[in-house]
Symmetry: C2
């Protein structure tokens, strides 16, 4: 394809802070149509097609069969699963012309069960896996980062059905490996799987596949010592307190206007670790209050809290109705109608500062083991931190990083098949609900994520396996008939040989030509110019600057093939074997 024919404009001005969004905007990859909704120009669509092909091959290799579910679904199947009620506004609901309630698919567990129901009624039909590559819509309140977080996106979603948990677990391992292969084939073998919380999907065991990078929205907890990995939501928080002090008496002290735990600790010259703070939430359903006491230096892990309460929650907007002394709430002599929970971090602590449930006063010397009832339950409700003890090897080596979630896999269990009444006859003639797994990858987010970790200041550096074109031929000074003839010939030879070539034969300056080429990000570049021809050669270089060499025009095609094979091999050698 010729650059002059590629619709889209490229420009130099910085467009956005997030580098993938900046470069993909500056490079003419996409255009915003509405909040979180993009049209994709042909370079992006070409990358997407290649990723889709990798996804198909890897899904087929784990016995997946491609199907297609609808984008628009009747509410009925979502009512059967219970998610019509349990999911918030991110599930877009509307009425069709007949007044029937409909939804836009943001995930397709219901559709998968609907499809498989009635056609998998005996155990012999199991296991099976169905997948699709299809548009999804999630009415995100916070679209951001270009294709990183959008409302409409293309997703590969797969659903497996099993007769036993053991069979699901064995299949889950194959899917896990398939995912590792997918990321490696897409040129980002550094993607890591982390244990995750299953959230609204239901089920117990799940993993997120994370690409570590600074702009990631997720916090990932890793232990370099033992290889433990979890996302923040799922990571156990192990807190160790200095319990060597002798407990002092509980003493009420005047703290005046000091309200936040930072202010109080500053006033009392105490370390935040030697304090106990109160955090107040409300249940979404009825605005009832939930009060958590945790160590002053920790943050509440809202996912753990939600799971504990089995209810959606939000930080309390105002706490007047709870009859609580805002800024002076403490666990001793507390009278409240709120649900009160205690974090494990305070269990063995001594001599903490905490609120006295009276304006302008706090306690010192709070020692939970002494001051709280003996049967108090302490729960894991806080976020772990850098340097905390690893839940696996117990070394103080935990590291918190940022990551983009580029895929996830879930052991769903019977959550959907039970709710929707899907059964099969087992060998004993009993009707049993099948056990499900599900496996998702957002294509657009993966593209943006690859760009985020494979670029330089001039543009994306696309891995050859997903690059929109493998080679860009740059003709410098096309007004020179020798350049024109040589570049035209090379373009034709490469195209005829099956190479995907982008050909820049525009009469533009070298500056424009090279900055555009950097933005197109093709892994290989061939320059044909009066200078190279004077040297009797073309110049072949890699977008990642790993080499630059003169090549003999007569042997250009085989030499380019050799380099393409090298780049491909470098990617393939990091792809693990299939399970």
């Amino acid at each position: 394809m010729k650059v002059s024919q590629v619709l889209g404009e490229r420009f130099k001005e910085r467009a956005f802070e997030i580098e993938s969004q900046n470069l993909m905007t500056r490079g003419g990859y996409m255009k915003l149509v509405g909040n979180g909704i993009y049209s994709l120009f042909t370079p992006t669509k070409r990358i997407q097609n290649k990723i889709e092909q990798i996804l198909r091959e890897e899904m087929d290799a784990i016995d997946g069969q491609e199907v297609l579910f609808p984008v628009v679904m009747p509410a009925t199947i979502w009512q059967q699963s219970g998610r019509w009620d349990s999911i918030g506004k991110e599930l877009l609901r509307f009425k069709d012309r007949s007044g029937a309630d409909m939804v836009l698919g943001m995930t397709h567990e219901e559709a998968a069960v609907h499809m498989a129901m009635n056609v998998a009624g005996t155990y012999q039909k199991y296991p099976f896996m169905i997948y699709q590559i299809q548009t999804k819509f999630r009415d995100e309140p916070r679209a951001r980062g270009g294709l990183i977080r959008v409302r409409e996106f293309t997703m590969k979603d797969a659903y497996s059905f099993h007769t036993t948990q053991a069979d699901l677990e064995a299949y889950y391992q194959r899917a896990y490996r398939a995912y590792e292969r997918i990321y490696a084939r897409a040129g980002v073998p550094e993607v890591v799987a982390v244990k995750s919380d299953s959230g609204m999907m239901g089920g117990k065991v799940s993993h997120e596949f994370m690409l570590l990078c600074d702009i990631g929205e997720d916090s990932i907890v890793t232990c370099p010592a033992c290889g433990y990995r979890a996302n923040m939501e799922a990571a156990e928080c192990i807190v160790e307190n200095d319990a060597s002090d002798a407990p002092e008496p509980l003493r009420e002290v005047f703290t005046g206007d000091a309200k936040t735990i930072e202010e109080v600790c500053a006033l009392l010259k105490s370390d935040a670790k030697k304090s106990c703070k109160a955090v107040v939430y409300q249940r979404n359903a009825d605005d009832s209050y939930v009060l958590i006491f945790t160590r002053g230096d920790l943050e509440i892990n809202e996912t753990k809290l939600t799971n504990t309460l089995k209810a959606e929650i939000h930080p309390a907007v105002e706490i007047d109705a709870a009859n609580l002394a805002a800024g002076n709430i403490g666990p001793v002599h507390l009278e409240t109608s709120a649900t009160v929970l205690y974090d494990r971090s305070i269990q063995d602590a001594v001599n903490l500062v905490c609120g006295a449930n009276r304006a302008e006063y706090h306690y010192t010397g709070f020692t939970p083991a002494r001051d709280l009832p003996a049967d108090t339950e302490y729960l894991d409700l806080s976020k772990t931190q850098d340097g905390f003890a690893c839940p696996s090897c117990h070394k103080h080596s935990l590291k918190i990083s940022r990551g983009i979630e580029v895929g996830n896999i879930f052991q769903l269990g019977k959550r959907y098949t039970e709710a929707m009444g899907m059964t099969f006859d087992d060998p004993n003639g009993n009707r049993v609900n099948p056990i499900m797994g599900c496996y998702g990858i957002g294509v657009g987010r993966l593209i943006a994520s690859v760009c985020e970790v494979r670029h330089d200041e001039y543009g994306p550096i696309w891995p050859i396996t997903i690059a929109p074109w493998q080679v860009e031929v740059c003709a410098l000074r096309v007004d020179n008939p020798d350049v024109r003839a040589a570049a035209d010939r090379l373009y034709k030879e490469l195209t005829d040989a099956g190479v995907e070539v982008l050909y820049d034969d525009r009469a533009v300056s070298a500056g424009v030509l090279f900055s555009d080429a950097d933005l197109f990000g093709c892994p290989l570049r061939v320059i044909v110019s009066p200078k190279t021809l004077a040297r009797g050669c073309y110049e072949l270089s890699a977008r990642d600057k790993s080499f630059r060499e003169d090549i003999d025009p007569a042997a250009a095609v085989p030499e380019i093939f050799r380099k393409m094979a090298e780049l491909t091999a470098a990617i393939n050698e990091k792809v693990p074997e299939r399970l």
Copy 2:
């Protein structure tokens, strides 16, 4: 793939009247999720992927570049084009979580202009064509026929942009040929292009591609004498009247309860051709009345009427408000506030029966040239009929057939670029609106249409170019170790050789195996059974029953390849050259 792994059940009971819907339901191709909304099982998805690949190749060959527009679009761009107001309920409108008006894309002219705007500001960037293969939703009131008419469907839609009408017309010819190639490559070279009315798309010249078959919803007018083809909406109606009678005086006659033109003609022993009937419509916008007088044996062409009025209309529900004598409305001495139109069919007629605008009375002897004002305008508002004169060669050879519309192409002109303010600078520095064409093919409808014309009573007969699998290997009596070993080996050899093979190794009766194979519709079938092995062979046959032969197991793979090549060549020889 093994039949035992293919999700979906096949059954014998007739499911629907329309044969493609019946066979694709009985064959486990699809499952209804909601009114006009289907999930597609893997055989259908495999066919769809092959058609999509053909579409990509043909669109790329006419310099198309694949892009992706959103399914969900903000109302704003539809308001810019004016279609937010002009399209009815088939455009699904809803609000997102922020209360913004959104639509589900039923076509993407607006999105195409939005994408191309600001990146095609000078004439040098033209022409270009962008296309996508994407889900669309049209809130059809009358979903029917399985995948023939649905609400959600996958569509290839393409949009070309030009600086001159001549350039559009030249490109239109290339697109027209690409379409002929697409249908031929999909195994239905008999698809014909007919002139069509452009309807809501705007623009003037357009063609529909029609697959003639009895279940088609469209009426197609063809002239075997000269090759004229149009759809009914666009076909000129040429009426010839016997004008040899001498005009008789206008005479009022008592017709009592006779209201319809059939009743009146029966009573007066007159031919319907010798009558003038009144047909009443109402404008959708304000319910105002439109009254058309046409010859008694003709039907109103609502598309022509809509185009004449430049307004959407519907048959009048009740006409009391119009002050008209229902059943006795006539063109003479008529007093009405309705818009009155006269069809060409009565222009030179003499001595017609018509209503007398008075209950229980009609006129005879109505002769428009005498009885209507001299400046009366006569319009082409009726549907042509079998045996009427051809608008092209004027022979009385017109034939009316039924057809399914499997694609369409439009010369849109500046309809959208003007409305949305897209311009480019021409060589003289003037800002000009580009001229557009658009080109659509619904993938699911094409699949169902192919099935409709390529099946027998037992199942679909898929053309090899789009078949879900090219070959089905049927192992009869897999409990026989020789059969099992031979069939397993053949399956492996063919798969290793790159053939798409469906392998039925289930322990089922020959009856089930063959009836399932008929429903899968693979073009080639290999039977491995104790009988064939006893003869020292496998049996190779075609789904279309064109041959059945014993083949040497040692040479099975090359022989199957030879037959695949023959079937492919038979399709390819009907594919016209590219323009």
